[in-house]
């Protein structure tokens, strides 16, 4: 299982996630479920970049908190505003 998790498969996964985002955009889909799915997609890609491309896996907790904290804070704040607008 571990051998399938590398920068090459991560790149492929991010391509597929990008295509899924584009397809949803083309269909004009909206709603809380769609918004959360799109933000989750962005977050997964963000985690891949921070963890595997920037190679921050295993660095000090402080820097991981800063980087993942930024990603979580921005995505959650965006999600809240969209949930308010859709409620």
């Amino acid at each position: 299982m571990k051998s399938y998790y590398n920068v090459h498969t991560i790149w492929i996964a991010m391509m597929l996630l990008t295509i899924s985002t584009y397809v949803i955009g083309e269909q004009g889909a909206s709603g809380i479920g769609i918004v959360l799915f799109l933000l989750l997609t962005a977050m997964i890609k963000g985690v891949f970049i921070i963890r595997d491309f920037m190679e921050l896996k295993g660095v000090s907790l402080l820097w991981r908190v800063i980087m993942y904290g930024w990603l979580w804070t921005v995505c959650i704040a965006i999600a809240i505003t969209y949930m308010i607008s859709l409620s």
Binding site: V7, I10, W11, M14, M15, T18, I19, T21, Y22, I24, G25, E26, G28, S30, I34, V35, L38, L39, T41, A42, K45, G46, I49, I50, D52, F53, M54, E55, L56, K57, G58, V59, S60, W63, I66, M67, W70, L71, T73, V74, C75, A77, I78, T81, Y82, I84, S85
Partner: protein, 193 residues
């Protein structure tokens, strides 16, 4: 020694510590910008939804593909230099620059389309955010490319090897930050409604 062997060692931040403070500040600014966009949208939902449809989602998606792929090429460059494969490192860096160039070309075509339609920062709130956010990011892409190009030139002059690759990691970290910001910007401005 393989890349996997190197990564078993205790992990320090890749690259120069100073670049990480710079990255942190950049992310802070973009993060505030994103949240302000989302909050401003709350007060102009219909306008934001209407004008979002005028954006070129094909170019947006293609630019996402280009930036992620370019980031992947930079990862390959870092792996290559860790294995003392300087030639491959240089080739991957130029491939990454190719991705960045593609991004800039598509973005310029997008701006040409908008500006020739008479759209500018004062057209409405949505376009003000669309233009300022994307142009601010565009400038970061240019800076990232300048850094990658400088590293590629230094690598060609023999400045890096498997014992000295902090410079390559430093430039790579900045380039990944540019990618990370776009990964939020694309769905936020072009897709989510």
């Amino acid at each position: 020694m393989t890349v996997a062997d190197i990564e078993i060692e205790p992990k320090l931040l890749p690259g120069d510590l100073a670049i990480w403070f710079f990255i942190f500040m950049e992310l802070l600014v973009f993060g505030i910008f994103f949240i302000i966009y989302a909050v401003m949208r709350l007060q102009n939902i219909e306008m934001f939804n209407q004008y979002q449809l005028t954006l070129n989602r094909e170019f947006g998606a293609a630019n996402t593909v280009l930036l992620i792929t370019s980031s992947y090429f930079v990862v390959r460059a870092v792996h290559a230099i860790k294995l003392n494969d300087v030639k491959s490192c240089i080739l991957w860096l130029y491939a990454a620059l190719g991705g960045g160039t593609g991004f800039l070309i598509l973005k310029l075509l997008e701006y040409y389309d908008k500006f020739s339609a008479g759209i500018n920062l004062s057209t409405n709130t949505f376009y003000m955010f669309y233009l300022s956010l994307t142009i601010f990011h565009f400038l970061h892409v240019i800076l990232g490319m300048v850094i990658l190009f400088a590293i590629a030139i230094k690598a060609q002059r023999g400045a890096y090897n498997d014992q000295n690759y902090v410079g390559v990691e430093t430039g790579a970290s900045y380039w990944h930050m540019v990618d990370l910001v776009w990964i939020i910007l694309f769905p936020l401005v072009y897709i989510i409604r």
